[in-house]
């Protein structure tokens, strides 16, 4: 089992990489950045995922990061732009609204499509404040009861 310090370090390595590039690192890169052997990096990644920090998961039966809140490493309908540059995807509609906290002072735009009609949804935020909501009257929906979120994050 990796130490709490190592788990915290790996968390920071992954999140910072995703903030900068929109892509999650491979465990070999995590190991290199953490200064540990490759296998130790792989184990630390799994230990982090098993630590039940909301919300992150691997592709089933692999060592590949699929989702790392508030981002997704697999494209979703939540396209995130920072200061006009689109290279990130939100984990879900709710987590997309938390992305702006990772880019202080910058304008974060969420472009999505409504799952009912396919028409566009656009939200602009800066430092957690909503600058623009288009159309007005947006609403969120989750079909999984809160008590089941931790068991079913990918489906929530």
């Amino acid at each position: 089992m990796s130490s709490p310090d190592m788990i915290g370090k790996v968390y920071g390595i992954i999140l910072k990489r995703m903030v900068a590039t929109g892509q999650a690192p491979h465990y070999t890169e995590i190991a290199a950045e953490a200064g540990v052997p490759v296998e130790e990096g792989r184990k630390a990644l799994h230990d982090l995922i098993d630590a039940k920090i909301p919300a992150m998961w691997l592709y089933p039966e692999t060592d590949y990061i699929c989702s790392f809140a508030p981002f997704n490493n697999l494209p979703t309908q939540y396209r995130i732009s920072v200061d006009g540059m689109q290279k990130w995807f939100g984990q879900c509609g709710f987590e997309s609204l938390a992305v702006s906290w990772l880019y202080p002072g910058k304008t974060v735009r969420i472009d999505a499509t409504c799952l009912d009609c396919g028409a566009p949804i656009r939200v602009e935020m800066k430092d957690g404040v909503v600058l623009k909501e288009d159309p007005k009257g947006l609403a969120g929906y989750v079909s999984v009861p809160f008590s089941q979120w931790f068991q079913r994050f990918p489906y929530a």
Binding site: P70, W101, A139, G140, V142, V144, P145
Partner: protein, 74 residues
């Protein structure tokens, strides 16, 4: 957890589950919930050490919703 153009669009959605009607959340409430420290402080160096505390705060906020909406009980 998805965003829709309106509550009407949620109810029209082919995969809307009437049993999960309480999962409809006004946009402003989603913004408020996802502005708590659990979401705000992810870049802090001690985030992982503190996430348990942040999660408790988030649970308390969700529990406020759950007082009237069983769907949100933990």
């Amino acid at each position: 957890m998805n965003l829709f153009r309106s509550e009407e669009h949620i109810r029209n959605w082919s995969r809307f589950d009437p049993a999960a009607e309480q999962g409809i959340v006004p946009f402003a409430n989603v913004v408020k919930l996802f502005s708590m420290d659990m979401f705000k402080k992810r870049l802090e160096p001690d985030y992982v050490a503190r996430v348990g505390q942040y999660a408790k705060e988030f649970l308390a906020a969700v529990a406020e919703l759950g007082k009237t909406r069983p769907f949100w009980r933990s």
